[in-house]
């Protein structure tokens, strides 16, 4: 049984590899962070820097802002048109494209002109 120990390791490796690839095939772009709906409920409960995930639903390039909607809701309905809640993100630099999944790091700031009376002042926007 010289061969078998070596082969067994190879075998297990191959099984994990093949199944892992299969599993990855199911993995939609994934983002981590707090959900938009969650933060929206009580935005000022969050102090300092937080990470929020969501789908980009609209752009306000003149104000350097964009809107994100709830990640799960987006995954569930595959559309950015449906929700009643969103977070306004104030960002510097290039704005992400509409429909993209993003992870945003930033802090909540009061802003009566935005929906819910707050904006998420982003220090970093990562497109997934």
């Amino acid at each position: 049984m010289r061969l078998s120990r070596f082969s067994l390791i190879g075998l297990i490796f191959l099984i994990v590899l093949s199944l892992g690839t299969a599993a990855l095939a199911f993995t939609a772009p994934k983002a981590e962070g707090l959900d938009v709906d969650t933060v929206y409920s009580d935005p000022f409960a969050y102090k300092g820097e937080i990470k929020v995930r969501g789908a980009v639903a609209g752009l306000e390039p003149d104000k350097n802002r964009f809107l994100v909607i709830d990640y799960k809701e987006y995954v569930a309905c595959q559309s950015v048109a449906c929700p009643a809640k969103w977070i306004t993100v104030s960002a510097s630099g290039k704005l992400p494209e509409s429909g993209k999944m993003v992870e945003i790091k930033g802090a909540i700031e009061k802003d009566e002109s935005a929906k819910g009376g707050f904006v998420l002042n982003a220090s970093e926007v990562k497109v997934k």
């Binding site: 049984m1 061969l3 078998s4 082969s7 067994l8 075998l11 297990i12 191959l14 099984i15 994990v16 093949s18 199944l19 892992g20 299969a22 599993a23 990855l24 199911f26 993995t27 939609a28 772009p29 994934k30 707090l34 959900d35 709906d37 969650t38 933060v39 929206y40 409920s41 009580d42 000022f44 409960a45 969050y46 102090k47 300092g48 937080i50 990640y71 799960k72 809701e73 995954v75 569930a76 309905c77 009643a84």
Partner: protein, 385 residues
């Protein structure tokens, strides 16, 4: 000398072929195990949460999609859409208990926490809650919290939590329920409605009926009186499973294809083995082996492939569910079920079903080769070189 020994020696004589065939089966079985453990875990979780809700019927605003219906079970924030007037209309129906919920969110130490606005008295009765510490008082400045929340954030009675900028004193901590109720801050309904600026609306109404055989009648009556939709707890579970369906179907396809490929792998391996061992079959026949003996020797070989492949596949499948499931869930399942633990490990039912399936498939795959071997004429087998 026993048949088992002979079968095993024959099985392992070509080590690489043996291992590759086993691998084929293992991959098939592993994907099956992954599928099963994902599915059962999820189903169990949904059932548990629906039980925790304690209602036979859920009254929701009209036009809610499955995602929102399921959020009833998972404690996600819900749009508030049923006015108090409708709540009262529903509550007025004889033979039912109606409990309104307003589900919102806040955060403690930047971690999201569910806030539920309730009618204190009916809710306590409805849920059979007991107080662990402090007392059960909910008003404009008092809140009651679930046991897990208290534990997680080290909250004591008398501590303050700030929700939407308003401070609340924690008056009581509930006894552990072992479900999602433990993860919630409870507020008085009217207070919560004002706090979140939702007017006189609630998210949904949980309904308990006195006579479960009359469910359809109650459901109809509720919809006649108020402008709402009604789902039963069973329908809720069904819509969860329907949403999971797409993911499961794909997984099922993969598992089916993999198992089928493995079955062909067994057939192929066995046919090759029989071709190589034609002469040996002849010897066995000359020694007086009957057809059914030859048949069973080769069938056992296939079955053993199924058994060994099944064991290895189970191990790989559980490992995969454990390591890869979070990724699968992230994209599809958790979208609906929050942080629900959707993988249930080492369920005896999964193990039993899988092993049975592996062996049955291997046996079915082994029938044709074994039949072929047993039908060889002795002279043909002996004269073969």
């Amino acid at each position: 000398m026993t048949r088992g020994k002979l079968v095993f020696k024959n099985l392992t004589r070509k080590k690489s072929r043996f291992l590759f065939t086993i691998m084929g089966i293992s991959v098939g079985i592993a994907s099956l195990v992954t599928l099963l453990s994902l599915g059962t875990g999820l189903e169990a979780e949904v059932k548990k949460q629906s039980q925790a809700l304690g209602a036979e019927l859920v009254v929701t605003p009209k036009g809610w999609c499955a995602y929102e219906q399921i959020s009833v079970l998972t404690g996600e924030t819900l749009p508030e859409a049923i006015p108090n007037a409708d709540v009262e209309k529903v509550a007025a129906i004889k033979g039912i208990t109606a409990i309104p919920y307003l589900v919102q969110r806040t955060a403690i130490k930047n971690q999201p926490v569910t806030v539920v606005g309730i009618l204190p008295k009916p809710m306590k009765q409805f849920k059979n809650w007991e107080i662990d510490r402090g007392d059960y008082r909910l008003d404009q400045e008092s809140a009651v919290v679930g046991s897990s929340i208290a534990q997680q954030f080290e909250l004591k009675t008398g501590d303050k939590v700030t929700i939407r900028g308003t401070e609340f004193k924690i008056q009581g901590i509930l006894k552990e329920m072992g479900n999602r109720d433990d993860l919630v801050i409870y507020l008085d309904l009217a207070t919560a409605q004002k706090l979140y600026g939702v007017g006189d609306k609630v998210s949904f109404i949980a309904v308990k009926v006195d006579d479960v055989t009359q469910m359809d009648r109650y459901s109809q009556e509720i919809q006649e009186r108020a402008n709402v939709a009604v789902v039963s707890d069973k329908q809720l579970i069904r819509s969860v499973l329907a949403i999971m369906g797409t993911v499961r179907n794909t997984l099922q396809m993969i598992a089916a294809v993999a198992v089928l490929a493995a079955a062909f792998g067994i057939i192929n391996t066995m046919l090759t083995a029989i071709h190589e061992r034609k002469r040996e079959i002849g010897i066995l026949q000359a020694l007086g082996a009957k057809r059914r003996t030859i048949f069973s020797l080769f069938l056992y070989e296939s079955a053993l492939y199924g058994l060994l492949g099944g064991v290895l596949g189970l191990a790989a499948g559980f490992a995969l569910s454990f390591f890869a499931a979070p990724y699968i869930e992230q994209s599809e399942f958790t979208a609906f079920l929050g942080s629900a633990q959707s993988v249930k490990m080492f369920s005896p039912a999964v193990v039993g079903q899988t092993m049975l399936f592996a062996v049955v498939v291997a046996c079915l795959a082994g029938i044709y080769p074994a039949l072929k071997a047993s039908r060889l004429s002795p002279v043909e087998a002996i004269s073969y070189e």
